[in-house]
C-alpha cells in the first residue's frame, strides 16, 4: 500500500491521493483566471474573463448557446490547444502554478484537471481498459495497482455494483447513463484535483440525470468541480457558485443562491427568468 501511494504521487506530481486538502497558499481558490481573451482564428469569442473557482465547490457556468462557456471551460485544461488556429491571452492558475507556463506538455496539466464531456465518449475498449487508460498513458503498469484504482474509481462514480462482473465487456454494451458514469470514473482514475464537466447530463434521461447530479454532490467532497450546464434548475440544484456568460463576456459571478434570487445584473435576471436564451 505505501508503495502504491508513492506511485500515485508520481502521476499527480506530488499531490496527495485525495488532493484537495488545501495546504497551498490562497487556500480559498483552487483556480484563478485573470483577463482571459480567446480567439478562434480571427474571431474573438472570450473577452477579458476574470473568475475564481473555490476549492471543493461546484461552480456552474450558465448562459445561452454560443456564449463561450464551453470554450472557457476548455481553456481550463488547455483542451482548446488541440484545435489548430486557436489563440488565448491571460493567466490561468491552478493553486500557484500558471497552467500555461509552468507545465511543459499540456498532457501534464490534464492529469490534474480532468474532464467529462457532453456526449459520453468511452473508448471502443472494455470497461476495465476504459478506466485504466488514463493510468496507462501516465506510465502506471503495475496491474495490482491499476485494478485497485479502477475499482475505486468505479465505486466513486457509483457504477461498481452494476459492472463489477462484466469488466471485460465492451463499454458500448452499457446504457447511455452508465456510459456517462463510466466516463466520470475514467476521469477520476487519474486522481485529478479539478473536474471539468461540459453539460454532462444533457443527453441523458431524467433518472440518469439525477444520478449524475447526486454523484456531483458526492464528488465535491474530494474534488473541485466546474460544470457547464444549459439547465438552470440543474445549476441551482448542484452548484455552490454560478457564473453567467453572455456573448463571450462574464456578466455576473457569485454564490448560486444570490444569482438565482437577487441577481445584480438585468441581463442575468432576464436569462434566469427565461426571458431569452
Amino acid at each position: 500500500m505505501p508503495q502504491h501511494d508513492n506511485q500515485i504521487k508520481i502521476i499527480n506530481q506530488e499531490q496527495s491521493l485525495h488532493p484537495d486538502t488545501g495546504t497551498k497558499s490562497s487556500p480559498n481558490y483552487k483556480m484563478m483566471v485573470s483577463s482571459l481573451d480567446f480567439w478562434y482564428g480571427d474571431n474573438k469569442v472570450l473577452h477579458d474573463i476574470s473568475l475564481n473557482v473555490s476549492r471543493n465547490m461546484v461552480k456552474a457556468l450558465i448562459g445561452p448557446s454560443g456564449c463561450g462557456k464551453s470554450t472557457f471551460l476548455r481553456t481550463l485544461n488547455r483542451m482548446n490547444e488541440t484545435i489548430p488556429g486557436t489563440r488565448m491571452e491571460g493567466v490561468i492558475k491552478l493553486d500557484d502554478m500558471d497552467i500555461y507556463k509552468d507545465f511543459g506538455d499540456p498532457s501534464q496539466i490534464r492529469t490534474r484537471i480532468g474532464m467529462v464531456f457532453q456526449k459520453s465518449n468511452p473508448f471502443p475498449k472494455s470497461i476495465f481498459d476504459n478506466v485504466a487508460y488514463g493510468l496507462r498513458v501516465n506510465g502506471i503498469k503495475d496491474i495490482g495497482l491499476v485494478s485497485e484504482v479502477v475499482e475505486d474509481s468505479l465505486r466513486q462514480a457509483a457504477l461498481w455494483d452494476e459492472v463489477k462482473d462484466i469488466l471485460d465487456n465492451s463499454a458500448y454494451a452499457l446504457s447511455g447513463g452508465q456510459q456517462q458514469r463510466l466516463c466520470i470514473a475514467r476521469a477520476l482514475a487519474i486522481r485529478p484535483e479539478v473536474i471539468l464537466m461540459d453539460e454532462p447530463a444533457s443527453a441523458l434521461d431524467p433518472l440518469s440525470t439525477s444520478r449524475i447530479e447526486d454523484l456531483i454532490g458526492e464528488l465535491k467532497k474530494l474534488y473541485t468541480i466546474v460544470i457547464v450546464t444549459h439547465n438552470m434548475q440543474q445549476a441551482a440544484r448542484v452548484s455552490d457558485e454560478t457564473a453567467f456568460f453572455f456573448q463571450g463576456v462574464l456578466i455576473e459571478d457569485g454564490p448560486t443562491k444570490e444569482i438565482f434570487t437577487r441577481p445584480r445584473q438585468k441581463k442575468t435576471e432576464d436569462y434566469i427568468t427565461g426571458r431569452f436564451g
Binding site: P84, D105, M115, P124, Y133, R186
Partner: protein, 320 residues
C-alpha cells in the same frame, strides 16, 4: 373609376386563365440510352474476361505456377514472375504505408484544413495521382538509380562497377511506392475523418500526449482504412509496368532476386515482354493468356479483400 375597375378585373381574368403546358414524353428515351450504356460496359468486360479465361484457363496448373520459363518462354511456367511481383509489392508496401499514414496523420492532426501548407500538400497529392506512370518510371531512373544509387556507388564503391546505381528491385519498389502514395494517403485520411473527435479529446483529457493518442487511439481506429489503402496500393502497384521497366524489371533471369539490388521478373512486365519481344509470338500465346489470367485473379482478389474489409468496418461502425 369604373373603367379602371374593369381593367383590373380584366387583368385578373387573364391571370387566372388556365395554362396549357406542352405535352411531354414519358421518358423512355433517357432510360433506354442509359441502359444501353450499361449493357455496352458489361459486354466489354465480359468479352475481355471471357477471352482471357478461354485462352488462359487451360494452361494454369501447379507446374505453370511453380516453374520458371523454358525454351525462350515458349514453355515452362511463370514462377519467377510471381515471386518477383510478390517481393516487389512487399517492398513497396514497407516503403509506402508508413510514409502515407504519417502524411495523413500530419494533415489531419497537425494542420488547419484552411492553411496554405495544407492546401499545397493536398494539391501535390492530387497532382501526384494524376502523373502518367511512365513519368514515374523515368523519374525513378533519374532520381533513384542515377542520383541516389549512383551517389551511393560514388561514395561507398568507387572502385567497383555499379552496385546500387543500376536497375534493382529496391528502386522499382520505391518508384511504385511514389505512384501509390496518394492511394494510401487518401484512404487513411478517409479513415481518420470517421474517428469521432470525442474519442481523441477523451484521450487528451486523460493526460495522453499527442503521440500516445495517435498510437493508442487514432491508429487502431484507422487500421481498417490503412489496411484497405495498403491493399488497394498493392493491387494498383502489382498491375503497373511502366514505372518498373526502367527501374528494375528484367526480361529474363535465371535466378530469383535475393538482394535489394537484384533485378527481378514481374508478371505485368512478363506479359509485355511475351507479347512484344518473344521470337515466336504465336507459340507463347497460351502462356501469355495464362499469365494475364494469373495477374487478373491476383488483383481482383486483392480488391475484393479491400472492399470486404471496408464494408465490414462500416458495419461495425454502424453497430457501435
Amino acid at each position: 373609376m369604373a373603367d379602371e375597375y374593369l381593367t383590373i378585373r380584366q387583368n385578373r381574368r387573364d391571370y387566372l386563365k388556365p395554362l396549357v403546358f406542352k405535352q411531354k414524353s414519358s421518358g423512355h428515351l433517357p432510360r433506354g440510352a442509359t441502359f444501353l450504356a450499361v449493357i455496352i460496359i458489361i459486354l466489354m468486360l465480359a468479352i475481355i474476361l471471357g477471352n482471357i479465361i478461354y485462352g488462359g484457363a487451360g494452361i494454369i496448373s501447379w507446374e505453370f505456377l511453380s516453374h520458371p520459363p523454358e525454351r525462350g518462354m515458349e514453355a515452362g511456367g511463370i514462377f519467377p514472375a510471381i515471386f518477383g511481383t510478390v517481393f516487389l509489392v512487399l517492398l513497396m508496401v514497407i516503403a509506402v504505408v508508413p510514409v502515407g499514414v504519417m502524411t495523413a496523420i500530419y494533415l489531419h492532426e497537425y494542420t488547419r484544413p484552411t492553411s496554405r501548407v495544407t492546401k499545397i500538400i493536398r494539391v501535390s497529392i492530387n497532382n501526384l495521382a494524376g502523373v502518367p506512370s511512365i513519368v514515374f518510371g523515368l523519374f525513378g531512373l533519374g532520381f533513384f538509380i542515377g542520383f541516389i544509387g549512383g551517389g551511393m556507388d560514388a561514395v561507398f564503391f568507387p572502385k567497383e562497377g555499379p552496385v546500387w546505381g543500376q536497375p534493382a528491385i529496391i528502386w522499382a519498389a520505391l518508384t511504385l511506392a511514389l505512384l501509390t502514395l496518394p492511394v494510401v494517403i487518401v484512404s487513411t485520411e478517409e479513415a481518420l475523418r470517421t474517428i469521432p473527435r470525442e474519442l481523441i479529446e477523451a484521450s487528451y483529457a486523460l493526460g495522453g500526449t499527442k503521440l500516445q493518442t495517435i498510437w493508442r487511439i487514432i491508429i487502431p481506429q484507422a487500421l481498417p482504412g490503412i489496411l484497405t489503402g495498403s491493399i488497394l496500393a498493392v493491387s494498383r502497384g502489382a498491375g503497373e509496368v511502366a514505372p518498373i521497366m526502367f527501374t528494375g524489371a528484367a526480361y529474363y533471369l535465371p535466378y530469383l532476386p535475393g538482394k535489394l539490388n537484384d533485378q527481378f521478373m514481374e508478371l505485368g512486365y512478363h506479359i509485355y515482354v511475351m507479347a512484344t519481344q518473344s521470337p515466336d509470338v504465336e507459340a507463347t500465346k497460351p502462356i501469355l493468356f495464362g499469365t494475364v489470367l494469373v495477374l487478373l485473379v491476383l488483383t481482383f482478389l486483392l480488391n475484393f479483400v479491400a472492399v470486404y474489409i471496408r464494408s465490414s468496418m462500416r458495419r461495425k461502425r454502424a453497430a457501435a
